[in-house]
Amino acid sequence: MNLLNDAAGKEYVSLGEDTLYVLDKAKQYSEISKGAFDVTIGPLVKSWGVFTDNPKVPSKTEIDDLLNLVNYKDINIDFENSKAMLAKQGQIVDLGGIAKGFAADEAVEIYKKHGVKSAMISLGGNILTLGAKPDGRPWNVGIRNPRGKDSSYIGIVSVKDKAVVSSGDYERFFKKDGVRYHHILDPKTGYPANTGLIGTTIISDYSIDADALSTTVFVLGLEEGMKLIESLEGVEAVFITEDKEIYVTDGLKDTFVFRDESKEFEYVEKR
C-alpha cells in the first residue's frame, strides 16, 4: 500500500492479489455510498494525526486543500496486470476502515480449512462468528453502549455465521479547546462526521462488508444510512443517535433484544 501511495500521480505499481481485492472492495463501497466512505481520505487522516499520539485540528485552508486529493474515482485498478495507480500526486489510500474486516474473513477461512465448526473471532471489537456455539445456540453479541464502560452494552443480537462490526465516536477521539473530535472523518467536509449518530453496528455475512458499511452509515447518518442498508440484501444494522435513541433495520426487529442497564437509551421501534 505504501508503494501505491508513494507512486501516486506517477506510475502503476504491482500489488498482491489480496491487496487488489481489498482496494477494489473499498472502491465499490465508495461508489455505493457516493463517497460517504472513501479510502482516499488518507491525506486528511494524516493531517489530523488521528492515529498518532499528537492529533491536531488542521486549519480550514489545509483541510480545503487536502479535500481536493480525496476522490475514490482516482483509484485506477488494472486487474489484468495486477496493478493499480492513484491519479494525483499526494493522494493516500488509507485502508483503516476495511482492512481489519478482511483480516477476520481470512482468519475464518483458515479455521474452515481445518474443519473448525464453531468459532468466534474478535479483532479489536470486530466480531466474526463461524457456525453456532458448540451447544448449537447462536452467539449473543452485545452492542457497546457508546457512552458507557468498555463492557457495557445497550442491546444484543444473536447470530450464526455472521460478522458484527461497530463504528462509533467513542473508539478514538481527542479534545481540543473543549471540543471533542473523533476519528471518523467525513470525506465531504474533511471534519469528523457530524450526522447525529454516536454508534453504528452492521451484521452481514462477511466482515469486510460489515467493516466498510459501519463506517459508511456512520458518515451517512440515520436516514440515509438506513435507506442504504435496507437496499442491500443480507445486511442489517443498529443505529444509535446522539439523542440516545436506538433504531434497527426491519430484519432485526424480531431478534434484537434491547437491554440497557444504564437506562439512558430509548429503543425506537417504529419510525
Partner: protein
C-alpha cells in the same frame, strides 16, 4: 541430550497445560452453580427477570397485548400456561427447564427464555 533451556521450556509448557485444565474445570463448575434465570421479553423489551430456582410457591404472570398470555412459574421451571393467540405454539412448547430453553408467542410478541446469570452475552462489539 537435554539442555537447561529445554527443561525450562518443558516446565513452562507443563505449567501452562495444568493451568488451562484448572481454568476449564473452574469455569464449568461456576456455570453449574449459577441459578437459572428466566427472562420474559415483550416487544423486544425485558419486562421481568425471575430466579426460577428460588421460586417456592407457583405463581402466574399475565402479559397483555394484542393477545394475552398467562405464564406459569414453578420451582426450576417456567411455561406459557394459556394464551389468547390463535396458534398457541407457545403453550404447546411446554415447560422450559434448562439454560437456553426458549418459548415464543409471535402473535403477542412475547418470549420466555432461561439464561445463566452472566450468560447474557458472549462478547461485546465496539
Amino acid at each position: 541430550m537435554l539442555k537447561k533451556d529445554d527443561l525450562i521450556i518443558f516446565g513452562f509448557v507443563i505449567i501452562l497445560i495444568a493451568a488451562s485444565f484448572i481454568g476449564v474445570s473452574l469455569y464449568k463448575s461456576s456455570g453449574a452453580n449459577t441459578n437459572k434465570i428466566a427472562v420474559i421479553i415483550k416487544d423486544n423489551e425485558e419486562i421481568k427477570r425471575i430466579d426460577i430456582d428460588a421460586v417456592s410457591e407457583p405463581m402466574e404472570i399475565a402479559v397483555s397485548g394484542d393477545y394475552s398470555n398467562i405464564i406459569l412459574v414453578e420451582k426450576g421451571r417456567i411455561r406459557f400456561k394459556d394464551a389468547g393467540c390463535p396458534d398457541r405454539v407457545c403453550v404447546n412448547t411446554g415447560w422450559l427447564t434448562e439454560k437456553g430453553d426458549m418459548a415464543v408467542c409471535l402473535p403477542n410478541r412475547t418470549m420466555i427464555k432461561i439464561e445463566g446469570q452472566s450468560d447474557n452475552v458472549d462478547i461485546v462489539t465496539y
